[in-house]
């Protein structure tokens, strides 16, 4: 693939744009077993039921602060993360629950983190926006729009420095593309041929401001300015996400080349649950997307049409996902909060490893 803009044959184009399942025969999808296809569906459903359950907990005042829901965007994280190999890494912003589940994190500590419990994945110290699991190559979960993108370039830098065949996926929303740190990271990645894919999850709204009112030009095409390859794809079809992303990931792993991929998607809920979502879009817009492009419904139809599973199988998976979310909520509810003694743990590596401390003097102050 050249550095010229989107010569990618799998990039969305005018011909046959939204035909469901048209990517089922793409090589990366054709090799999937029946079970692997069902697993893609199952993870999407688990994300959705987890988040719906978390919303109920939020409404019941079990969860504080922000809660940025991913509902509607599930095929993006699931499609991308399903492609991860041993040396591939992921970093994302604050709408991070979907990616966490997609990389394989257990939903119990995820829910407990929302409840602010010590059993949470960050011991109740990070909250909704700050999920991490380095053991699964998942580096957060970051709260400042675009702030994680230089870190994503850094993951790629480390992969390259160590001579590993891997790639980093640095996710951001469409609102992040106007942040300076993102462009600085683009420049570095292109300048130094870092194996990073900058994934713009374009849900159409930067918080409560539409793309048209916040971003000039085409988002992915900005990569041209850095002589970086780019592509776009529809994010409601998990097969399409896998097909497009796989090409860029392979190129990153094998040729150490960065790219920007804009994945068109949609969120059903407000920017966060504190967003009344009444001022900047029409309810009919949400309903239209749900009716025609819901990623879970679209994929369920494809799998049923292809004879991969039946309606009953889909229902059973859904029931299991609801049960899993309830179990996670019960686990969170039953777990203890951290104590005041925990506040000053996990601040310094040295303090947490006193036997290996080399510095002296006071690290904390009153």
């Amino acid at each position: 693939m050249s550095k010229k803009p989107t010569a990618s044959p799998v990039t969305k184009d005018a011909a046959g744009a939204s035909e469901p399942g048209r990517h089922r025969q793409a090589p990366i999808n054709a090799v999937l077993s029946q079970e692997e296809r069902i697993e893609l569906f199952r993870v999407m459903v688990r994300i959705r039921r987890f988040e719906e359950r978390s919303l109920r907990a939020y409404q019941a005042k079990k969860i504080g602060g922000f809660l940025h829901l991913y509902i509607g965007q599930e095929a993006v994280a699931v499609g991308c993360c399903s492609l991860m190999g041993k040396h591939d890494h992921v970093i994302t912003a604050y709408r991070d629950h979907g990616h966490a589940i997609a990389v394989g994190m257990d939903t119990k500590p995820l829910m407990a983190e929302l409840y602010g419990k010590i059993t949470g994945c960050s011991k109740g110290k990070g909250g909704s926006m700050h999920y991490f699991d380095p053991s699964r190559n998942y580096w957060g979960g970051h709260g400042i729009v675009g702030g994680q993108i230089p870190l994503g370039a850094g993951l790629a830098y480390a992969i390259k420095y160590k001579g590993l065949k891997g790639a980093a996926m640095a996710f951001m929303g469409d609102g992040a593309v106007n942040q300076g740190a993102v462009h600085e990271a683009y420049n570095l990645a292109a300048l130094w041929d870092l194996p990073v894919i900058f994934v713009v999850e374009n849900n159409g709204y930067s918080m409560g401001t539409s793309q048209a009112r916040s971003s000039a030009g085409d988002l992915a095409r900005r990569a041209d300015g850095y002589h970086m390859a780019w592509g776009t794809c529809d994010g409601h079809d998990v097969y399409e996400v896998r097909s497009v992303m796989n090409e860029f990931l392979q190129r990153a792993r094998e040729q150490s080349k960065p790219a920007v991929v804009e994945i068109k998607t949609y969120r059903y809920r407000g920017h966060s649950v504190a967003d009344p979502d009444k001022t900047y879009r029409d309810k009919s817009e949400i309903e239209e997307y749900q009716r025609t492009k819901d990623p879970i419904n679209v994929f369920r139809s494809i799998l049923i049409a292809d004879g991969v599973f039946t309606e009953a199988d889909a229902e059973r998976i859904d029931t299991e996902a609801r049960n899993e979310a309830d179990i996670a909520a019960n686990f969170a509810e039953a777990s203890p909060f951290p104590t005041a003694d925990d506040i000053q743990k996990d601040v310094y590596w040295e303090v947490d490893h006193p036997e290996q401390r080399t510095s002296q003097g006071r690290l904390f102050f009153t």
Binding site: G126, P150, A153, G154, E184
Partner: protein, 325 residues
């Protein structure tokens, strides 16, 4: 013992750590081909090659953020800020990402990164290039802040900083780069958080760090000769962690304290020190704690007046006499 400059001491520390650990990478604007704006990194590219000594674009948020990300995966970047004043354009990376990522991940991640470069006034470069952000940096739990005053300290502290598993911010001084001091040929480390009594005395303790140590020592010499006043000079060397015990031991000895710092006064390092000294050694004090700081305005350009804006030996002498009056 050989006499080398503060600049060479830092360079030797970098070279020794580059030799010791393959994961150490030196990175920053003009550190490689140009040999460093202040020649700290001179010759390193020739010796270690472009994989280890990396020129970056003028893009502090980008390259420092990148270094933080790389450090999470075990690379140990030593990033040069051409001036610490440029920290403001990378503030989110330094103080949201590097400082917080360990905490927010519940202790799953650590950032073994060093950010180093000069942070000082006195070179007539105006307000934008004369910041001394050690108080701002040290206000963030999760980071370590070091400000060496001599060649010996700079080398031993930088080697410790590079081996440290937490983010360490290392604040040098362009005016000190050419200052010579005795540095042994054999390897040594100085632990972070260990103050150093640079001059023993009995009448008053000056608590200071960075270039102000040199001003304080010059003032102490004059005060001894001209006023028969015996000044003890405690060099903090490290702001966070802070060796308050050495400070308190000196207060117990002299019962008088002057803090000298190249900081704007409001919420400075000295403010924190004064709080701690009065809180922990109130009964030892024979008078109020005094402080000599930078005169509270943006850094003035006018060369002769900038000298007066900053701590200098004359101002230190006057401040000691006032404290003992």
């Amino acid at each position: 013992m050989p006499q080398i400059t503060y600049r060479e001491a830092i360079r030797h520390a970098l070279a020794e750590e580059l030799d010791r650990d393959h994961n150490v990478v030196v990175m920053g604007e003009e550190v490689a081909q140009f040999n460093g704006t202040y020649k700290v990194t001179e010759g390193l590219l020739a010796k270690y090659g472009p994989k280890r000594i990396v020129d970056t674009p003028i893009s502090e948020a980008g390259f420092i953020g990148m270094g933080i990300g790389a450090s999470m995966l075990g690379v140990r970047p030593v990033m040069e800020l051409m001036f610490w004043s440029f920290y403001s354009v990378a503030f989110d990376q330094i103080l949201n990402n590097a400082a917080n990522v360990r905490y927010m991940s519940g202790g799953q991640i650590n950032c073994p990164i060093v950010i180093r470069g000069p942070a000082n006034g006195g070179t007539n470069v105006g307000a934008t290039h004369s910041h001394t952000p050690e108080n701002v940096l040290a206000n963030h739990p999760g980071v370590k802040v070091v400000v060496p005053s001599t060649a010996y300290d700079a080398k031993g502290l930088l080697k410790s900083a590079i081996r440290d598993n937490d983010p360490v911010f290392f604040l040098e001084n362009t005016i000190l780069y050419g200052e010579k001091g005795e540095v042994p040929d054999s390897e040594y480390l100085i632990p972070l958080g260990k103050a150093d009594v640079k001059r023993e005395g009995k009448d008053i303790t000056i608590v200071t760090y960075g270039r102000s140590v040199l001003h304080s020592l010059a003032a102490a010499e004059r005060l001894a000769k001209e006023n028969k006043i015996s000044v003890e000079v405690v060099d903090l060397r490290s702001i966070r962690p802070l060796d308050i015990d050495t400070v308190l031991a000196s207060v117990v000895k002299t019962h008088r304290v002057l803090i000298v710092e190249e900081q704007k006064p409001f919420a400075s390092v000295g403010s924190q020190l004064a709080y701690m000294i009065q809180r922990e050694a109130f009964d030892e004090l024979d008078g109020p704690i005094h402080r000599l700081a930078t005169i509270d305005a943006p850094a003035i350009y006018s060369p002769p007046v900038e000298i007066e804006q900053l701590p200098n030996p004359n101002r230190v002498v006057a401040a000691v006499l006032e404290a003992l009056a």
